[in-house]
Structures are given as structure tokens and as C-alpha cells.
Amino acid sequence: MLDFLMRRMLLMIPTLFIVSGISFFVIQAPPGDFVTAHVQRLEDRGQIVDREAIEAMRARYGLDQPAHVQYVRWIRSMFRGDLGMSFDWGAPVSRVIARRIPNSLIISLFSFLFVYAVAIPIGMLSATRQYSVADYFFTFVAFVGLGIPNFLFALVMLWVVYSMTGQVLIGLFSAEYVDAAWSWARFMDMLRHVWIPAIIVGTAGTAKIVRVMRASLLDELQKPYVMVARAKGLSRSHVNYKYPFRIAINPVVSTIGWTLPSLITGEMLVSLVLGLPTLAPIFLRALQMQDMYLAGGIVFVLTLLTLLGTLISDILLGWIDPRIRFSSM
């Protein structure tokens, strides 16, 4: 098990390198750089910027260097935990990200809890009562959930909430807490708001997990060991609870690996639609402003989160499934 984990962690290192390369390439790809974009914006406003000032600005940000030099510099500083400076914010990227990331994480975390807390029982119900009214109902709901893109769902919710209450915003905080520092009261206030975006973000994932859980449990329910356990004299509910439910959970746990990235992705789109103060609006702005270190830093941090999620799901899976624990020894 330990071996297995060590190997997984070591494998993450080259992956991270490649990811950093891709991130850097991606943010380098647009023609021009932050300075050209900045000058463009200044000129649009009618200001005249002289050549020397532009070049000075480039030199200050290191943008006059060739791309590979910039990359090496970026990587090197990353080892020190420094993700570079955000041109647009005039602050270290890590600080800009750190300020917004709690909101993103909280939404993702809550939608994660929502997904599994809802999907597992429904999947169990659907499988044990296959072809019942409840099964058909939840299968239908799951299909609807699967088909509706979460940003569209957010848009619909926005409209529904507006036409019902006249409120425009589904924010994360009440007005008095928007700019307040973190406190218990602010946290509680957020709990009152976070469930709407969390459910919106989680719907598609829930639908998928319900189907995974249902299929997996249906599969397990007809395994011979279920009949064996019944032949021992255990009641059906006891048998189901102890054996197939327990084993059917394993494939569900392995979905954590891909649920997390899809939740992070969904969280970004939903935040943009609902105007939530998470990483998403900053990311979009950074992209438009060609604030490359910020954009790259966000992509990198998100990827890191995804990889951590996969690692957690691997650990969980090894913990609950002895077959995996032993096979990797």
C-alpha cells in the first residue's frame, strides 16, 4: 500500500512538469503579451505611450526574454512557492489566488458532499427496487440532470429566483458580509447561501454517480456471495447492507477521481453565471488581460487540486478494497 502510494506520488512529479509546460504554452499562445494588451487599452482611452516606456515595462516583467527563459524562471520560482506577479493586480499571484480560492473550494466541497450524499442512497434504492416506480422516477430525474449543462441550470435558476423574489443575485454572502473578514458569523452566513450553487454544480455529477451506483449494485446483487450469505440465514436487508452495498461502493469511490475535476470545472462556469466571488471571474479576466502568470498559476493550482483528488480517491480505494491494497504490494 505504502509502496503504491509512493509510486503514485512520484508519478505526479513528471505529470506536474508537463502540466506546467502546457499551462505556460497555453498562456503564451495569444499573440502579444500583457504589455501589448495594456498599451492597447491605454491607447484606446486616447493616451499616448512612448516606445521606451513600453520596453522598460517589458524588461521589468521579463517579457523581453525568449519564451523558454521565461518558462525556466517561472518554474524555478515555483519551487519556492512563488507563482510570479500578477501584472493586472500588481500583487503576487499566490496572494490573489489565496484570497479567492476558499470560496471556490467551499462551493466544490459542498457540491461534492451533495453529489455523494444524494447519489449513493438513490442508486441503492434504484438498484434494489429495479423497474419500480421509484427506479423509473429517479432514472428520469438523473437523465434530466445529465442533460442540463450546469451553466444553463444556473441561468435558469437565476431566472426562477428573479421571477419569484425579484432578487437579481444568488451570491455567496449577505450584503453585510461581502467584504467582511472571515468570522464565524460570515461562515454561517455563507452556509445559508452556498447550497444553491453547490446543488447547481453537483447536479450533473449526481446523475452520473446515481447511474454508476445503480449499475454497480445491480451487478453485485446477483453475485453468488449474496446467495451464499442468504443461505447462511442472514436476512435480506442484512445481507444487502453488509455485502453488495459495501462492495458496490468501491466503483463509486473510484469516481471521486473524475468527479473532482468536473466539479471544479462546473464551479467555474456556475460562478461566472451567478457572479460569485470565486477564482472563476479572476481567471476569465486574467485571460482577457493576458495576465499570463495569474492565468497560468490558476490553471496550475486547479490541476494540482485535481491530482490531489485522484490521490485521495486512490488512498480511499486502497483503504476500503483489500483487493487493491494487496495487488499493489
Binding site: 508519478l11 513528471p14 505529470t15 506536474l16 508537463i18 502540466v19 502546457i22 499551462s23 497555453v26 498562456i27 499562445a29 495569444p30 499573440p31 437523465f143 445529465l146 442533460g147 442540463i148 449543462p149 451553466f151 444553463l152 441561468l155 435558469v156 437565476l158 431566472w159 428573479y162 421571477s163 437579481v168 475535476p261 468536473s262 471544479i264 470545472t265 462546473g266 467555474m268 462556469l269 461566472l272 453565471v273 481567471f283 476569465l284 485571460l287 482577457q288 492565468a295 490558476i298 490553471v299 486547479l302 490541476t303 485535481t306 491530482l307 485522484t310
Partner: protein, 398 residues
Amino acid sequence: MSLQTTLRKINDFPADLIQRRRDKRRKRLIDEKGKQLLVASQWQLIRWKFARHKLAMASLFLLGIMYLAAIFAEFVSPYDPRSFREQYAMAPPQRIRFFDPHEGRFHLRPFVYSITRQLDPDTWQVTFEEDRTEKQFIRFFVRGSQYRLMNIPFLEGNLRLFGVEEGIISLLGNDTRGRDLFSRIVHGSRISLTVGLLGIAISFFVGVLIGGLSGYFGGLLDVIIQRVIEAIKAIPTIPLWMALSVALPIHWPLTRVYFFIVLILSIIGWTGVARVVRGKFLSLRTEDFVTAAELDGASTGRLIFRYMLPSFYSYVIARLTLEVPAMILGETALSFLGLGLQAPAISWGVMLKDAQHIRVLANAPWMLLPGLFVFIAILAFNFVGDGLRDAADPYSNI
């Protein structure tokens, strides 16, 4: 009634019926299986199995209609999707009627009431009112405004599937500038429904190529490719797509942007294919029929394209169908955010972008309708993909 009598009833009453049906079924199965199964190609088998998947068949039919409408968009839509008529801005969807309460009689030909724009002098709110006295009958195969089918020069015409003689027909309402939503949705499907197909085509070729190289040659190449795939898969989709599509210059022509968006959407899709292809190649290398072909002196190319690929590409295509929804979603999301296709282009995402302001939504909620079509398309592709996967799975029995 005890269980036993119930069961006896179930058994006795339709016994004859069950028997007859069973005979018919068996006869068909013998005909099909006994004679044809031996000679049936892989594709025939898949088709038979797929045809039994009712939901998938229905979805395929629905998608067929949607694609037909996309091809003949100019003919199907009553108006030019870009022509705006300010006097009908934000007109709501009209109800199609057969019964006229004023005359108190039915008409075989459907009709709509004329609508007129009203301005509330106090609130400046625009409303539309139906003029119950003025019926506009819907006519089919009418002459409308001039168009060029799919922009092909010699396919000019003005024949439209339906229309009205006076006033307007707006099935799904009008947008903020008075453009007909139905016509726009039909035209928008050309982009929204094709990105996915083109995307999986690209994913398929890239995936088979790279996965094949990785699986066939193995070694260091394989290790590097696998690492890269892992890294790409680790990056959350939407941020990656967003970052890539920002790089597309604004001044590019529409077709080029479209093509690059498809490329961007395929950047994730190919990794899954490559994985599968690699796995299959690794396991197929030791299969007897491949060894036999190798001993026969088949060249590497022949080995791959004649023997190895055909044994699993149906499976890969079936799996890829399940990627289409993600790509449709991707295009819609990117365009919605203003990062993908931009305004003169018509796609469902571009249309939804118009609907993102709450004021617009509050006054014209029908502008969310392109979303309904996204929803339907995604569901249909999901069902078709599920059906195809089940049908193409070599391990499921017929």
C-alpha cells in the same frame, strides 16, 4: 388470491399467446441467427443489437431530424436568422391554433393571431397583444426572402417550409432585436451540432495514431506518451478550453475560428481513445490471429490496419459518441462566455450569451430556449452512445 393461483392464472391464460410469440421469435432468431449470424458482419451485429435499444433508436431518429433541419436550415426556417425587425423585438412565442373562439369553429389549417406592439406610456414597458380578429393562416412551401442554401452559389431560392402572408410567425418568440428565435436556433444547430461530430472525428484519428504508436512500439515512446496523456487529463477541462480559446485572434474569419474551436475541444477527447487503442494493441499483439498474420509475412502497416484496428474500432467509435455531449457543451459554454464563436456567428452558445442578462431573461425568458435544444441534443447523444456501447461490446450476448 394466493400467489399460487395468481401464478397459475398468469401461466394458463396467455399460454397460447406466449407460445405463439415465442415461436415467432424463435423462428426469427433461427432465421437471423442460424443462417445470418454465421455470415453477419460486425456492423450488422451491432445494428441488430442497437435496434433493440428503444430509447437509443428514438434518440437516433430525433438526432436525424435535427441534422436534416441543420442541413436545410434556410428552407426550414421562415426567416433570415440575421434580419431584425425592431417592431417585433422581444415578441413572445405565438400560440398555434386550430379553433377560433370568435367564429366558434375549427380550421383544418393552423393559424396564429396577429400581434401588435404596445408601449405602456407610464412604465415604458413593451407588451405584445394578440389581435383576436385577425387570423394569419400558416401556409406551407411559401415564397419567402431570398436565400442561398448552405451558401452554395447555385442553390439559390426563396422556398420556405412554412410562413404567413402578413405579419409574423414566431414559433419560439423573438430576441431583443426582433430576430426570429426559431430560425436562429435552426441555423445555430449547424455549428452546435457539428462541433461534436467533427471533434470526435479528429479525436478518433489523433487518438488511434498516437495510441497505436504508443501501444505498438512501447518503450520510452510509450512512457512519454502516457505521461503526456495523464497530464492533459489532469487539467480541468473548462479552464484549459478557456485558456486556449482566448488565444484565437478576434479578427479571424468565422470558419477558421470554428475549426480551431473544434480542435480545442478535441484536445481532451483523443486521450481517451489513445488509451483504449494502446491497451488493445498491447493485448492484441499476443493474440493468435495477429501472430498468424505476422508469420504469414504481413507488413506492420497491414498488420495494424487490416488485422488489429478492425477488431475494436467499433468499440472506440461507440465510446467516442459518449464524448459528443461534452463537446457540444464545451462549444456552448465557451461561446456563452464570449471566448468561442462571436456574435455574427450563430450558435446555441452565442444565442445564450444574449440571454445572460437578468433584465433580458425577466422580459423574454424564451431566449433560454436554445438551452432546451442543447439539453435535448446532449440527452439524445447520451442515449445513442449508451446504446452503441452496449451494442458494440463484444462481450454482451445477443
